[in-house]
């Protein structure tokens, strides 16, 4: 009997393994697992898991899947994390909706017009804006997409105001009148449209990518852009096509979502918000930013979690928490590593131009040392004098800029050294604020001890989050997890009714330091923040020069090589994340003392994304660059007259980065290098590291090796592949020449 059972079990296991080896079999296994999970949830949850809720989640998740797909598509084509994915189609969707509501244009014509507009906008964004950044670091381009998203979002708000004077109260519904009820949801034409359109789009997309020349070329470019370029694939043109598709998918998502969820004329249809970004980006990231089917499944899964969470808890706060837990569990359960190609792509994506120190040949020269020290002294003097010539309000805001500079320093450790992105450092800042604030306000703890406690708590929190997110060494998992933390923290942890023991309800007093030194007024607090910032920068610089700092950098530069030195890269990166989180917690602790109160709204997840923008604009390649970013972004908003604030929002960011695509830090260091070069030339000093890149740039084109000479194998591949678009063989002239191939017939 036992043997028979064992044999049966073995056969079943064998059958399962055999199934799992085939794609269809894998899908079947997953489907069965999903059904089992559903049955368990239906039995366990308070209100069960009704079919209608699951189906509703499926529909809304599928709509989000369109955005997740567009993120994946753009990433694969450009290695760019597209933060404007949801906004790209917003303007076009609003146009379609207005045409339908205001001018009563036929639904299909209106949608058609909207999709054409979306295609145009997608194409224009790529050709007018993004193409200028084809050689810029990918992080810069990601920030460009943030700026583009803000512009499109603003337009989608303004258009109805201009068009309908803000009083447009119509509804935008599909013309389908079929309804059916699956308890507890009544599904009507709007849901059915989504149920029909989304699979059609997915099938169409699959067909396009598999069976059309453009599709094959896009996949080729996505798999290995450099190789595709060598093979003559017009990567730029393909990039335009991809952005057109992204625009259309984004608009389609909006046009499918609005009939189901409703439309308000003065709000954006894109629903541009951290929660939506979290859901779509998470789906894309779970898919490793490469696998479209996985992205779709993940988006649908998250949609179901969203609906089921709301059904169970009837509280948005718990829904966010549930989603974060699901994402963490999904990452913990994730077994496969990224492929080498993808890993390489991600490394490219994260590539940050490191700023070189002053070359050793010059560093010890007296004039260089004097200039360097003089500059530092001038900056410090300027910082010390700010309270003397600024108003108290501006001094207070300048203190906040100093605190954001601490956050910038923390992000240098995490992103520039350890190679990970955090979109949720605002949450660490918030936890630091909460812990410091409650200890000072409610328990009368010494300020320094409270700050230390805040740092300790945020460091531990970072460790806990980092364990699932940093297991794979690289990849944007941490970005998603931290964004999720920011969403949950703001919507749950920072609400006093849920955590009265964590959130200070009373005023946080500015107790004197050591019981003697007052920090009560704006100037005193400013100097306190300045001292802490200077100490932080010294400490971070010390960390950079330490064994731990070098290990962090090497774990990012070459993981395998680092591991070969018996260094656990995961542990090193966890340490970087913990230190980074602790510094953000320190900034938060100081913030709550400065503001004398905890306001959960200050820790909105959107602000965390702003931190990302701040450090990238400044330049993550160096500590001063990142700090410069904080000073620039928040200084423009806080200290300059009100109009200048637009410099660092939407159009301003795009405009600035168009002229200085490497960020502000790069400008600063280019000037430094120029001066050093001039000094070296005047003193007849030969400094190879200073002139090498100049010589490289000045080298005549003929001296450069051809693509074919670079890699004969690639050239042969090109000749063999003969990829053709629109009937024209598009091998590179260089390649053809190298191979002695004549003009294509």
């Amino acid at each position: 009997m036992t043997e028979a059972l064992a044999a049966t079990a073995q056969r079943l296991q064998g059958a399962r393994a055999a199934l799992a080896r085939r794609p269809a079999g894998r899908a079947l296994v997953w489907a069965v697992a999903a059904l089992v999970a559903w049955a368990v949830l239906a039995a366990v949850l308070k209100h069960g898991a009704p079919t209608g809720i699951m189906l509703s989640g499926l529909v809304l998740g599928a709509i989000n899947a369109l955005i997740a797909l567009s993120i994946v598509l753009v990433y694969r084509a450009n290695r760019v994390l597209n933060f404007a994915a949801a906004d790209l189609g917003a303007v076009a969707a609003i146009l379609a909706i207005e045409l339908h509501i205001k001018y009563h244009l036929n639904y299909f014509l209106a949608v058609g017009a909207g999709l054409v507009a979306a295609a145009l906008i997608g194409g224009l964004v790529e050709t007018l804006v993004l193409r200028r950044f084809s050689n810029a670091p990918r992080l810069i381009v990601a920030v460009i997409t943030l700026g583009v998203g803000q512009i499109l979002n603003a337009l989608s708000i303004i258009i109805p105001v201009v068009w309908s004077n803000g009083s447009n109260s119509g509804t935008f519904n599909t013309p389908f009148t079929v309804t059916f009820r699956v308890f507890p949801v009544l599904f009507n034409g709007n849901y059915i449209a989504a149920l029909v359109v989304v699979p059609l789009v997915m099938v169409g997309l699959t067909w396009f990518l598999r069976y059309t020349n453009y599709g094959v070329a896009i996949r080729a470019a996505a798999d290995n852009g450099d190789r595709a370029r060598l093979l003559g694939v017009p990567v730029k043109r393909l990039s335009t096509v991809v952005w057109i598709m992204a625009g259309v998918m984004s608009a389609l998502a909006a046009l499918l979502r609005v009939p189901i969820l409703g439309f308000v004329s003065f709000g954006s249809v894109s629903g541009n918000s951290a929660p939506l970004l979290f859901e779509t980006l998470t789906a894309a990231v779970i898919a490793g930013l490469t696998s479209m089917p996985t992205a779709v499944v993940a988006a649908i899964g998250l949609g179901i979690v969203d609906q089921l969470g709301a059904w169970t808890f009837q509280n948005a706060a718990y829904v966010y928490l549930t989603q974060l837990v699901v994402v963490l569990v999904a990452l913990l359960l994730r077994r496969e590593r990224l492929t080498r190609a993808v890993d390489a792509g991600i490394t490219t994506w994260q590539a940050i131009r490191q700023i070189r120190p002053i070359p050793p040949e010059l560093a010890n020269r007296r004039p260089v040392r004097l200039a360097s020290s003089g500059l530092r002294l001038a900056i410090l003097t300027f910082a010390l004098c700010i309270p003397l010539f600024e108003t108290p309000a501006h001094t207070q805001l300048a203190s906040i800029i100093l605190l954001y500079s601490i956050v910038a320093a923390s992000l240098v450790i995490l992103t520039a050294w350890a190679g990970h992105i955090s979109l949720g450092h605002i949450a660490f800042m918030g936890f630091g604020s909460a812990v410091t604030g409650i200890l000072v306000a409610n328990h009368g703890l010494n300020v320094f001890l409270a700050l230390a406690a805040g740092m300790a708590v945020t460091a531990v929190l970072a460790l806990l989050l980092g364990i699932p997110a940093l297991r794979f060494g690289s990849g944007p998992y941490l970005a998603v997890v931290t964004l999720g933390l920011a969403v949950v923290a703001n919507g749950y942890f920072f609400l006093p009714q849920y955590f009265p023991w964590l959130i200070p309800a009373n005023e946080v007093p500015k107790n004197p330091l050591f019981g003697r030194l007052s920090i009560a007024n704006d100037s005193e607090m400013y100097y306190f923040c300045l001292i802490v910032l200077v100490l932080t920068l010294v400490a971070v610089r010390g960390l950079r020069n330490s064994h731990a700092g070098r290990a962090m950098i090497s774990s990012n530069d070459n993981r395998q090589a680092t591991q070969s030195f018996a260094i656990s890269t995961t542990r090193v990166q966890l340490m970087a994340f913990a230190i980074s989180g602790a510094l953000a917690g320190l900034a938060g602790g100081l913030y709550v003392i400065l503001e004398q109160g905890f306001n959960s709204g200050d820790y909105a997840p959107e602000n965390g994304i702003y931190f990302f923008l701040m450090v990238v604009i400044g330049g993550l390649g160096s500590l001063p660059g990142a700090v410069l970013g904080a000073v620039f972004v928040y200084g423009a908003q806080y200290l300059l007259p009100s109009g200048y604030g637009t410099l660092v929002t939407g159009g301003g960011v795009v405009f600035i980065l168009m002229f200085i695509p490497g960020g502000l830090g790069e400008v600063f260091f280019n000037i430094r290098d120029y001066l050093l070069r001039a000094y070296a030339a005047r003193n007849h000093l030969y400094v190879p590291s200073l002139v090498a890149d100049v010589r490289q740039a000045q080298a005549p084109p003929a001296a450069r090796p051809t693509a074919a000479e670079d890699n004969e194998d690639e050239a042969e591949d090109a000749a063999l592949a003969g990829i053709s678009i629109s009937g024209e063989t598009i091998l590179l002239a260089d390649t053809r020449q190298a191979l002695g191939v004549g003009q294509p017939s």
Partner: protein, 617 residues
Amino acid sequence: MPTSAREQKEQINSLQDPFARNSLRGAYHVRKYALLYVCGMLGALALAVFPAVNGSGGSSLPGVPGSSSVAAGSGPGSASSGSSGSGGSGLSSGGSSVGASTGGVSNGAVASGGGSSVGGGASGGGGTGGSVASGPVGTVRAGTGVTRGGTTCGSGVRQIPFSAYADNCVAKFSGNNGGTTARGVTASTITMAVRQYSDATGANSLATQAEVEAAGGVSYATSYGYDQSIVKWMNSQFELYGRQVKLDMFTGQGSSTNEALGQGQAQACADADTEANSIHAFGGINWSGIFESEPFSACAARYQLDVPEGAAYYPEAFYQSWNPYVWGITMNCTLISLEVGEWVGKQLGPYPTKWAASDGVVPLNGKQRKFATYVPNNQGYQECTQAALGVEENQYHIAKSREDEYNYALDIATFPQDAQKAIIQFAANDDTTVVLACDPISPIFMTQDAVQQNYYPEWALIGVAETDTDSYGQLWDSKAITGHLFGLSQLAATSAILNPTGEAGQALKAAGVPLNISSATDYFELLSMFNQLQAAGPDLTAANIAAATPSIPAGTGEFGTWNFGHAHTDIVDSRQIYWDASTTSPVDGKPGTYIQIYNGQRFQLGQFPTSQPPYYP
């Protein structure tokens, strides 16, 4: 020179002589930690040299001695206000001030009503320690003489004779007013800062402004012009003891969009800092419609700024925590929740559903009412909702099983999603009556979702966040609300305040301002501010405002009944309304308006009838 720790160690170990080895080790150590030692020494030096401060946590306001605050009406001598028109008014001029006013003279507040003689002087807040005009402070004569507006004062006569809400009249003041009694107060002026948001020309602000104009209002710039004219007129009518309110506008750092969502406190605090430390204002109002946001109100209290129109619809406990600085016209949500509890307990709970249709499957009318409250999940609104539910359960014995709830995130980007989920939930739970304890945007989505779900419950207004205004009602799905939307409103009936012969009509005509919804609303808000400034007496401090406010007489007029009592908000009663989609709104001329029942009668706590209300007669 070795740079890495390993190289240094190797070099140290390479030395044979222990002294040389230790010296080199010491040298490296000093080089590595020199900065730390220097900082430590500087810190120690600072500790030794800098003057010590006491450990109480100083005020962040230069020139404001102490930071003591006074609970509203808590001091001896605070008066309970008399009912409208009752008795004469008394005055105490410094007779019973309490506490040591470190900021100048504590002269007692002007009190009125019932002939009681009260002193409202209190210590501290808002004082500046500035100069005090020499000589004794002049006497305030309330209820007698002739006002500076030329009205003969008498028992029950208001400072503005046709006003139902103005403070009791005070004879024209002459003599010494105490000079600089508080920051922003001089012998001749009371500076009130006017804060313009930094994003006043941004996309969201333009959208909001378009909404205001579509609802019959005017642009913020025009509205501010009205405010200046109204203030000028009120300066000539109210007794400010030789002072005039001076508006000082500035463009701040705060963002209207952020602050509306409870964010941007850093910029809001910087604006409060500007008002306090750069403009040196006594208090502040907002350029975009006078009332201020919650983040700013919290900061203003820390900077000891008087905010006559602070964050609206917050619990009284919040105002208490900001005491004595933040006030408002609109009813605080603590009182709203108590009235809602009574209304539901008496007029809805005991009766079967009458104005619903179906939940998509079964008819809802005639069933025992089951309530579903849609409320943001932030602390203030949650507190109030729980208070209302407590009243319903404990006082009126409405079973917990008849109370459903959905807590949504106060994030405009997620309003659609939360609305959809809530409606599905409410329909599935057979909730008959959806209580709108929410912002006015969410019902746009909720009503659209309800129609999609074929769910037609009763929609019960509680009056918060302008959900009871025509302009928002017109944005909600007409099919969902026609015949189903009713409830409480604490605001005035628009037709009443737009009546040219009404109080606002007369006052605005006198001020030379056209009558519209913006100017009328601004009038009442500024009236409340001037009432407090007059009531505080010549010794104008925030503490004296708090002490005197309970003595401002209650009044009933076109804006309901105002009676601060010991609370921080004026309005204390609600009218009952229902939505009529077929009637044109008197506000904006568009179809759809709220109709009031009981002939516009308003109900205070404890006064609600016990019969089912006659909505949709």
